[in-house]
Subunit: 216 residues, 2 copies
């Protein structure tokens, strides 16, 4: 294995360990020693990649939005719906994502870290898709893409928190389906509504077929 | 001042101090000593009312839902809208409420505290109002009151978090107005929509006239 490839794998192992520890303990209580123990790497290897707990937390926060990757869809509103369900599914299985979400939700402590950065990144990514949806005639003329996507990001954040608190996120997909049922009639042109899929099993179906293009 | 009245005032002063400290530091970092210093009461007085940090946190959590008190409205959907705007306003001015919301959002640490209790209490209170709204013919026949109110509680939780992270909650009322604009067409019968007030200044107007009944 080439040196660079090994470094990339080590960095990823450290990030995944850090995500798991941040997820379980939150920012304040987490220590570098706890991450070291979980990652099973040397102190030297960790400090080669991350100079401090702050830089580790920032890197974990920066990993969040890539978890929203989904197969491209001809209908961009469907692609936005898909992102929410896929992130919901990945929250169940991936502790790096969970740790990143917990950091974004933890109140900012005095530090150089921008805990709010994932909110901005999600809003930016989703606004691009929403503008494409608008260009394709998918949206009602009353929709202001930035307002709608910031509402989506905020609502998703709270819904996953409430689902975690009440059921350990077991009912998250159901709750996301309820969110879309309430919001879509205010977003999509009426003719598109019957074609949009916001069933609670949407995320599972996308991930099951994730290696092949999704037909619509 | 009668002995009992003095005890009630002392208890309230301790709760308000505890709310402020939980709001600033979160559950894990907060200590009884920090609350004592803020409340300016004796250790004996604090322990007379609260035997531990856990019981203090539980009492702060239990204070959350009363902050949703609003003047009764003939239209129960308007009363639900009003609760969200009034809680949004009170989050700006009341540190006991802020501390209670932060505790509900903090990930549960191993303890005897039920951090999720406010979610259940809000959902219970709002479901009562939503059932009244249904009985008065205010809701679309597709609405399932429990689903809708749990969506509201989850969405509110995340929207206030995102607003705090991005603007110190300065734009919370605007964000709540966007939430209602998106959700009301899926909840209310069409004839009611023009009469419902979900403008961003709704909370300020209710609180300005809080001592007199609100006419509609």
């Amino acid at each position: 294995m080439a040196r660079q490839e090994r470094a990339i794998r080590t960095r990823r192992a450290i990030l995944e360990a850090a995500g798991a520890v941040f997820d379980e303990h939150g920012y304040t209580t987490t220590t570098i020693a706890m991450v070291l123990e979980r990652a099973e790497v040397t102190k030297g290897a960790l400090y080669f990649h991350f100079s401090s707990k702050e830089s580790l937390a920032q890197a974990v926060l920066d990993e969040q939005v890539p978890f929203g990757a989904v197969p491209s869809q001809p209908c961009k509103l469907q692609e936005i719906i898909d992102m929410t369900f896929v992130v919901g599914m990945r929250l169940l299985s991936n502790s790096l994502l969970r740790g990143s979400v917990r950091l974004a939700v933890d109140q900012a402590v005095p530090s150089g870290i921008d805990f709010a950065e994932p909110f901005r990144q999600w809003a930016g990514r989703l606004t691009e898709l929403m503008e494409e949806a608008r260009a394709q005639g998918e949206l009602l003329p009353t929709v202001r893409p930035r307002d709608t996507v910031e509402l989506l990001v905020g609502a998703f954040t709270g819904i996953q928190l409430m689902s975690r608190a009440l059921t350990g996120r077991a009912d998250l997909a159901e709750r996301l389906s309820v969110l879309w049922t309430h919001m879509l009639p205010s977003i999509a042109v009426p003719g598109l509504l019957p074609a949009l899929d916001s069933g609670a099993d949407r995320g599972a179906r996308i991930l099951a077929g994730a290696d092949t293009p999704v037909a619509t």
